[in-house]
Symmetry: C2
């Protein structure tokens, strides 16, 4: 018989998930934190959410600054992505440790990451206490893409972006390398 089911422990086993490097801060202090609990939540107005544990160093910064950038890394930034998810900004200057470059945002205080091909500026709209994670819902106020990942028509080219996904079911990073179809 096909499709026999085996039970898993109930958990946050969604696959695939984004892996984004969040940048938050101002001229005094800025930090990077890799998050996978990141989502498009609403189309009109465009709103996205990030789930953060209050004990994380970035949590206080997120509350104080009131905005953040969701930076989508390419496979060139995979090691930096792992570092920003496993070390704390209390101990390490993550811009220095990763070699990533802060660049001023257009609409908000937090800087974006120059090397990441896609940068989404968000201004916090609401914080929902879901449990261990608090969901910061932000208005998307600007977005930027690196020119080198555009195709000849000036449209984003996922092959050039070379993005990847985090898969909490198996704690693995996988590439998003093969086009299947248009919607």
């Amino acid at each position: 018989m096909i499709n026999l089911k085996r039970e898993l422990k109930p958990g946050t086993v969604l696959v695939p998930c984004p892996a984004a490097i969040i940048s938050v801060g101002d001229e005094t202090e800025a930090n990077l934190i890799t998050l996978s609990w990141v989502a498009n939540l609403c189309s009109k107005p465009p709103r996205m959410g990030i789930g953060v544990v209050p004990k994380r160093h970035s949590y206080g910064l997120l509350k104080r600054i009131g905005d953040f950038v969701i930076n989508i890394p390419s496979q060139n930034q995979l090691e930096a992505t792992v570092l920003c998810g496993t070390q704390s900004g209390r101990d390490v200057d993550k811009f220095e440790a990763t070699g990533l470059t802060p660049q001023p945002s257009m609409q908000i205080t937090s800087p974006m990451i120059r090397e990441c091909p896609l940068n989404i500026e968000c201004r916090t709209w609401k914080i929902i206490e879901v449990g261990s994670h608090h969901l910061f819902i932000g208005d998307v106020v600007a977005a930027h893409i690196n020119e080198e990942v555009l195709n000849a028509e000036g449209e984003p080219d996922l092959a050039k972006m070379a993005i990847f996904t985090y898969n909490p079911l198996v704690s693995q990073y996988w590439a998003v390398n093969e086009f299947l179809r248009n919607r």
Copy 2:
């Protein structure tokens, strides 16, 4: 100069996103709806969210039933995924149109989809009106995986699951086919 930025229209351009088929209903009526605004939101307790537009046929069902299953399709179910995202349950019996098989869930009323390799049973905990989309946050109360996608050690094998991702930035489906590294 590298990494020159070009501005995009502010929008829900997160990549990659999950593409999940949500099943909701009871013995009287059940429907399938493909959603990409789907996310892990909280680890303890495990909670996940789905963003739904109120005018969608499934919205009323979600409110009435109070639970839903997040089914993760494999590439074998890509066409079914597209169909469930582009047709309405008002016009079409999507189980019949796709050939997908409803199977009773363990903890909730809504059925799961037998063919999808991963099924996550959620009981609605809270509904947040974010804007055009309402965010249904659910407690994960059970999860199931198909035996044929387990490896020799009985662990989930993403290569066997053959999952894919939806990328709203370019409105394209891409495969998740290449292992990069463990966390």
